[in-house]
C-alpha cells in the first residue's frame, strides 16, 4: 500500500480523503494556496506544501507545482478529489509519466470521457442511450444556431470539459444563445482551462439519476446503486438522496446494468459515476461519466456501509476489488445537503467571510463532512462549499425529518448559509412526495424568502444580547452577513442568465 498520498485539492473533499488515508495508516500531504494557509485541509495533513497565489491557475490548477510538491515530499500517489485537476487527463498523463499513481482512471479514459462528445460516441457504441444534441464542440455561432433549431429549444450550452454546474447555460430562445455561449465558454475557461462548448437537448422536467461504479484492474466492474440528484440550483446539485423514489426494481436493475456496460465500454478503472437523465416517461439517457469521486458519494457510503475512498485507493494500488455485485445490498435511506457559504435569498450568491461561530450538528444518523472550522476565513477564490451534511435513517421520511433537525442544529455565524432554504425545500409537499425534477427549485422556490415567523423572539434575543454583555469584544460587523446597499439593487438572475 502507498506510504504517502498527496491530496491535490482543498476544503471538505481534501479533509474527506485524508480521513480515509489516516484510517489506512497512509501519510498525507496537503497542497494549498496563499489564501488557504490556515484552511482545514492544511491543518489536518501530515505535511503541507504552498503552491502559490490564490488564483487557481497559479495554485490548485498548476500541474507543475502539484507534481513538484509530490516529488519533494515523496508522495507516491495523488488523490485529485473533485473539481480542479480531477478530470484533467493531461494531469493524469503527467502523473503516469512521472511514475506517480493518479488515483482515478487512466489518462486516456479521462480524456475520452472528459470530452463529452467522445464519451457520447463511446456510449452509443456500447449500447447505452444518449441525449439528442451536437456531436462535436463548436465555436461557430451560426452552426450552433442551426443545431439548436434542429433539436428545438430549450437547449443546453455545455462545456465539454469539467462539471459541477460550471460552464452550463440553459437557453430558452434563440436570442439568448450567443451570450450564453460566450458566458459559458468564459466560465469553463476559468474553471477548467478549456473554453470549448457544445449543445444538447434540455429536458425541463427530468430527473438526474446517477449510478456509482467501481472497477478494478482485474476486469471486475460493479455498480453500487443509484443516487437521485434532481434538486439543483444553477445546475449544481444541492440535495441528493438514495434510493431514488421512482425507480422500480426492474428499472433500477436495467439502469445498473447500463451503468456497468458504460464503464466497461470505456475501459473504466477505479470509482466513477454514470449520470443518466430520466425523463417523465422513465426513459433514461446517458449524460456523462464523472471520472472521479462525486460530492454526493457519502449517501452511497451510508446505505451500503462502505468507504468509497478506501476502495479507490485499494484499486489504485493494484488490489482486486473486495466487493462482489451480489453482496451489495443498500439499506435504509440517505440524504445529502450541500452547505455552501451562499445567500439563497439572492440567487445563491456566494457569501465569503470569516466564520465567527460554528456549531455542527451531530448525533445518530448524522454525518457532516466539513472543510471549515470556527475562526477560518472562507476565501472568495474558490467554490464556497462549507460541508456536506448527510443523514441516514430506516426510511425516507425519517431521513428527511432528521435532515431538517440537523439543519436547524447547524449554526454558522459570519457567512450566509442556505439552512432555512433547505429546510423549506425538505418540508415542502412536492419534495416529500418525491416530485423532484431538475427544475424543482425554479418551479417551487424561485422567489424564496426566509419566513420570519419568530421576529418577537429575535427581538428579545437582540435586547438580551445588549443587556447580557458578551465576554469577547464585538465582532467585525462586516463579516456577519449584514445587509449592504447593493441588496436592493440586484436581481440575481443566475438560473437563466443570458
Amino acid at each position: 500500500m502507498f506510504k504517502k498520498i498527496l491530496i491535490a485539492n482543498r476544503g471538505e473533499i481534501a479533509v474527506r480523503v485524508m480521513n480515509t488515508c489516516k484510517d489506512m495508516g497512509i501519510k498525507t500531504v496537503a497542497v494549498y494556496s496563499e489564501a488557504d494557509s490556515k484552511a482545514a485541509h492544511v491543518l489536518f495533513a501530515d505535511e503541507a506544501v504552498l503552491l502559490g497565489p490564490s488564483e487557481p491557475a497559479q495554485s490548485y490548477l498548476n500541474m507543475d507545482k502539484v507534481i513538484k510538491a509530490a516529488r519533494d515530499t515523496g508522495a507516491v500517489a495523488i488523490h485529485p478529489g473533485y473539481g480542479f485537476l480531477s478530470e484533467n487527463h493531461e494531469f493524469a498523463k503527467r502523473c503516469e509519466q512521472e511514475g506517480i499513481v493518479f488515483i482515478g482512471p487512466s489518462s486516456d479514459v479521462i480524456r475520452d470521457l472528459g470530452d463529452k462528445i467522445t464519451s457520447r460516441k463511446i456510449m452509443k457504441k456500447g449500447n447505452v442511450p444518449v441525449t439528442p444534441g451536437l456531436l462535436g464542440s463548436e465555436t461557430d455561432i451560426a452552426i450552433l444556431y442551426q443545431v439548436a433549431d434542429e433539436i428545438g429549444y430549450p437547449v443546453l450550452v455545455k462545456a465539454t470539459a469539467g462539471g459541477g454546474g460550471k460552464g452550463i447555460r440553459v437557453v430558452n430562445a434563440k436570442d439568448e444563445l450567443e451570450e450564453a455561449v460566450a458566458s459559458a465558454s468564459r466560465e469553463a475557461q476559468n474553471a477548467f482551462g478549456n473554453s470549448e462548448v457544445y449543445i444538447e437537448k434540455f429536458f425541463t422536467r427530468a430527473r438526474h439519476v446517477e449510478f456509482q461504479v467501481l472497477a478494478d484492474d482485474f476486469g471486475n466492474t460493479i455498480h453500487l446503486y443509484e443516487r437521485e440528484c434532481s434538486v439543483q440550483r444553477r445546475h449544481q446539485k444541492i440535495i441528493e438522496e438514495t434510493p431514488c423514489l421512482v425507480l422500480t426494481d426492474e428499472l433500477r436493475k436495467e439502469m445498473g446494468q447500463a451503468a456497468v456496460r458504460a464503464a466497461k465500454a470505456a475501459s473504466y478503472k477505479n470509482a466513477g459515476t454514470v449520470e443518466f437523465l430520466l425523463d417523465e416517461n422513465n426513459r433514461f439517457y446517458f449524460l456523462e461519466i464523472n471520472t472521479r469521486l462525486q460530492v454526493e458519494h457519502p449517501i452511497t457510503e451510508m446505505t451500503l456501509g462502505l468507504d468509497l475512498v478506501r476502495h479507490q485507493i485499494e484499486i489504485a494500488a493494484g488490489n482486486p476489488l473486495s466487493l462482489k455485485q451480489e453482496d451489495i445490498h443498500p439499506r435504509g435511506h440517505s440524504i445529502e445537503c450541500r452547505i455552501y457559504a451562499e445567500d439563497p435569498e439572492n440567487g445563491f450568491m456566494p457569501s465569503p467571510g470569516k466564520i465567527t461561530f460554528l456549531k455542527e450538528p451531530s448525533g445518530p444518523g448524522i454525518r457532516n463532512d466539513a472543510g471549515v472550522y470556527q475562526g477560518v476565513e472562507v476565501p472568495v477564490d474558490y467554490d464556497p462549499i462549507l460541508s456536506k451534511l448527510v443523514t441516514y435513517a430506516e426510511t425516507r421520511d425519517q431521513a428527511i425529518a432528521k435532515m431538517i433537525k440537523a439543519l436547524k442544529d447547524y449554526i454558522v455565524l459570519g457567512v450566509k448559509t442556505p439552512m432555512s432554504f433547505l429546510c423549506d425545500v425538505l418540508e415542502s409537499k412536492a419534495f416529500k412526495e418525491g416530485q423532484v425534477f431538475t427544475d424543482f427549485i425554479d418551479v417551487h422556490f424561485s422567489d424564496w424568502k426566509s419566513n420570519a415567523e419568530m421576529i418577537d423572539a429575535a427581538v428579545i434575543a437582540y435586547i438580551a444580547d445588549e443587556l447580557a454583555g458578551r465576554a469577547a469584544p464585538a465582532l467585525n460587523a462586516k463579516q456577519t452577513g449584514v445587509p449592504t446597499p447593493w441588496e436592493t439593487l440586484g436581481n440575481w438572475k443566475m438560473t437563466k442568465v443570458g
Partner: protein, 175 residues
C-alpha cells in the same frame, strides 16, 4: 424602554420592559414575556411561556445576526443607521450607487459615464468564487461616474457606479 429597530429591512418600534433576566414586549394583542440566560458569547437561551429557544447571536454593535430555529434575522438599531454617513445610507430606500456584492473581480462594464440607464439594466459583471454575477441599475437614471475597470479586484463597500436618479420618489421618513 423603547427600541427603534430594523428587523430584516422592516422598521419595528418595540416597547420593552426589562426586569433582571426577563424581557416583556408590549404587543398590541397582549404582552409577551421571556426570560433569558446567556449560555456563551454567541448563544442565549430564551424561555417564552415555558418553551425554550436557543438564539445564536453574531455581529457587533451595528447589526446583529440572530439565528433561531434555523432561521436568520438581521436586526439593527434604526437610530444608529440615521447617524451613518449619507453615502452608505441606502440600506432601505434611495440607493444611488452600484456596489460590489463581495470581494470579486470585474469581468465587464456594460455602461458608460453619462449614459441613461433603466431600472434593472445590467451594468457590471463581476466574478467571485468561480461564479459570474451581474449588477443591475436600481432605478432609471444617469450614470455619473464609473469607478472600476475590467480586471479590477473590488471589495464589498467599493462603489463601482454612481447613478443620478431620474425622478426622486418620496423619501420614506416615518415608515
Amino acid at each position: 424602554m423603547e427600541y427603534d429597530l430594523i428587523v430584516n429591512s422592516e422598521k419595528t418600534l418595540v416597547e420593552a420592559k426589562i426586569q433582571d433576566r426577563e424581557i416583556t414586549l408590549q404587543k398590541e394583542e397582549k404582552p409577551l414575556t421571556a426570560s433569558f440566560e446567556r449560555v456563551s458569547d454567541h448563544q442565549i437561551l430564551l424561555n417564552i411561556n415555558g418553551t425554550q429557544l436557543n438564539a445564536y447571536v453574531g455581529g457587533g454593535k451595528d447589526v446583529k445576526t440572530i439565528i433561531i430555529d434555523g432561521r436568520t434575522y438581521y436586526i439593527r438599531d434604526a437610530d444608529s443607521l440615521a447617524q451613518a454617513p449619507a453615502g452608505k445610507k441606502g440600506f432601505k430606500g434611495g440607493a444611488k450607487t452600484v456596489c460590489a456584492p463581495m470581494p470579486a473581480m470585474v469581468i465587464s462594464i456594460l455602461a458608460k459615464e453619462g449614459q441613461m440607464v433603466e431600472k434593472g439594466q445590467k451594468l457590471v459583471i463581476v466574478s467571485a468564487m468561480k461564479m459570474e454575477t451581474s449588477l443591475f441599475a436600481p432605478f432609471d437614471g444617469k450614470v455619473t461616474k464609473i469607478n472600476a475597470k475590467e480586471g479590477d479586484k473590488v471589495m464589498p463597500t467599493d462603489i463601482l457606479v454612481d447613478i443620478e436618479q431620474k425622478k426622486e420618489p418620496a423619501e420614506e421618513t416615518n415608515e
